[in-house]
């Protein structure tokens, strides 16, 4: 089982992850249309680039925009969660040992205690986001089962990994569960709306170009996001 999930299944999930993302990017860009979107993507390019970068960068920093500042707790947990989701798997010591064994490459690794801390924080962040979905009427109304499923897909590798790392009696079970959950997460990124992994950047760039080229970017200082 271990061989299978860390072998062919791992290959498959990485392939779906990378190819899926490339397809997403390709489809998005192919579907842009200057007349329908009413943005001259190919003209006034320097304004477009400036608008796109501003639109991405302000939102990439916690409290960088009005909206982030208006919602301090949400912003805190969303950023903590995303940082944990990105850094922990990539820089986990265990993953890097595996990488070295299989493909002969490895990255710098986080100290184990730090990774463990991140894991707990990600789990707490997800709990916060779930409670928020339930508590706030304006969020509850628009939340669907799909939204909870995505949170589950994202947090599952962390819960299982935590249990495996702490050598619970069923270590082997949790290890396999962890690997499978991680692979599901990877595959889900391009296949579900977790595709915001990449579409966040594309969509933000698009609106940034819209504002940068057409909606005032050439006259004002640029939108104060």
């Amino acid at each position: 089982m271990y061989e299978f999930v860390t072998g062919p299944l791992a290959w498959l999930s990485f392939a779906i992850f990378f190819i899926g993302l490339i397809v997403r990017i390709g489809l998005y860009i192919r579907g842009l249309d200057w007349r329908l979107d009413r943005v001259t993507y190919g003209e006034n390019v320097s304004y477009g680039i400036k608008g796109a970068l501003r639109s991405i960068l302000f939102w990439l920093f916690p409290y960088g925009t009005h909206s982030w500042r208006n919602n301090p707790w949400f912003t805190l947990w969303v950023f903590v969660m995303h940082i944990g989701l990105l850094l922990t798997p990539v820089f986990l010591l265990g993953h890097n040992i595996l990488l070295k064994e299989r493909w002969g490459i490895s990255l710098w690794a986080l100290p184990e205690s730090v990774a463990d801390g991140f894991t707990v924080i990600v789990i707490l962040a997800v709990i916060f986001l779930v409670l928020r979905r339930i508590a706030l009427p304006e969020v509850r109304l628009i939340t669907t089962a799909y939204d909870y499923l995505l949170l589950l897909i994202a947090v599952a590798p962390f819960i299982t990994g935590f249990l495996a790392y702490h050598r619970t009696p069923d270590y082997y079970f949790w290890l396999i569960a962890h690997i499978i959950c991680g692979e599901i997460f990877l595959m889900a990124i391009p296949l579900t709306k977790l595709s915001h992994f990449i579409l966040f950047f594309l969509s933000r760039a698009q609106l940034g170009m819209d504002y940068g080229i057409k909606r005032g970017g050439m006259k004002g200082k640029g939108l104060a996001w």
Partner: protein
Amino acid sequence: MPEGKLCNKKPVNTKEELQALLTDKSGKQYYEEMNHLDVDRKALWGTIQKSFKSRLKTWLEICSHCGLCGEACFYYLANNKDPRQVPSYKIQQTLGKIIKRKGDVENAFMQECMDTSYAKCTCCTRCGVYCPFGIDTGIMFSYLRGLLFSQGFVPWEMKIGSGMHRIYRAQMDVTVEDWVDTCEWMAEEYEDDWPGLTIPVDKQNADIMYTVNAREPKHYPEDIAEAAILFHVAGENWTVPSEGWEETSLAMFGGDWEACKLQVESVYAAMDRLKPKRMVVTECGHAYRATVIEGPYWAGLKSGKTPVESLHYVEWVAEALRTGKLKIDPSKKIKEPVTYQDSCNYVRNAGLGDIAREIMSYIAEDFREMSPCREHNFCCGGGGGLNGIGRYREQRNIGLKVKRDQILATGAKLVIAPCHNCWDAIRDLEEIYKIGIRWSFLKPLLINMIEVPEELKPKEE
């Protein structure tokens, strides 16, 4: 009865059809017929497949239902934070469902979509500025209005408006003769007070081609006279075109993209014909948005720009004050607290926030900002055509509360609103809520404040 006599999928192209609609007081028969209008599902889905591309698709798809857009929407705030007013909810329940069902929707649902896309969204695009993914629900509602128009689900007044543009190239039945006569009449009317005042029509190669909102020749001709006086005092070499003088676009509010194109092309044709150096648009927000910001795209101009450089009136005013073409008499500056209504259309959607502040710095001693302001300002409540739609009067009036409270918080009793729609909305909010404010365009205020050179004053006899 699938297609009504008045309410149908065909846009209005003749005076007879237009007259029939106008005779139907407040659209009684029109809305009755709408109850029986069939949805052409194949055509609807066909249009969607051609126009629903990655930008919109991604917006609908990746919305994480975080709800941040809620508090960005003035309707949400005005309706006691009703969750059903969250932009994400509004769009998922309408456009979202049409897409999910591949256009397989019923009459009642289409009417619901129409009610939501007009009475719950003014397309002010504020929510897009507050969404982490840059999901611009205002743009999506505008797209939805286009789909609804193509199926005949459009408020009575907007159907009339689009017909007006198609027939008269103006949002009201103002013909070329009416317009030119009004200009002549105004020039004569004010000539005694302003010797030498003219309103030059169709002058070639002028520095400025001035264009207006059809309401001005129709209901507020003094506005044209005031513009003329200010150009006259500033010593501008200006003109108005006999054709292509109308900047507004009820067609844009109504989602009649074909009429949008016809309308802006008439203005661009005037530019080609008269070869002015620049065009200046009157104090109207959506007119500027339509003709200067969006228009080039409707007309297929690859540069995304109008054939000649185009300014909103506030840009011209700021320039005239900056360069000294117009001088303010310091003793006549506005002394009382005064605030400024940032129009979504030329501030959030065209970047003119600084220009407005510059003007205020020349003319006001106690300028009070609304909070929020500039590109974050709330819609006045009357945008997206809402001021003019009887069916949604009640919802509009509730929406006005946000602007009312914003104005009250400044303590100012005078609101400068250089946008026809904002001006109307603020007038109406005073009428309804009686908070004791006055409101004004820039032109009449400026005329009372400027220093008039001796040679331009009437000679005492």
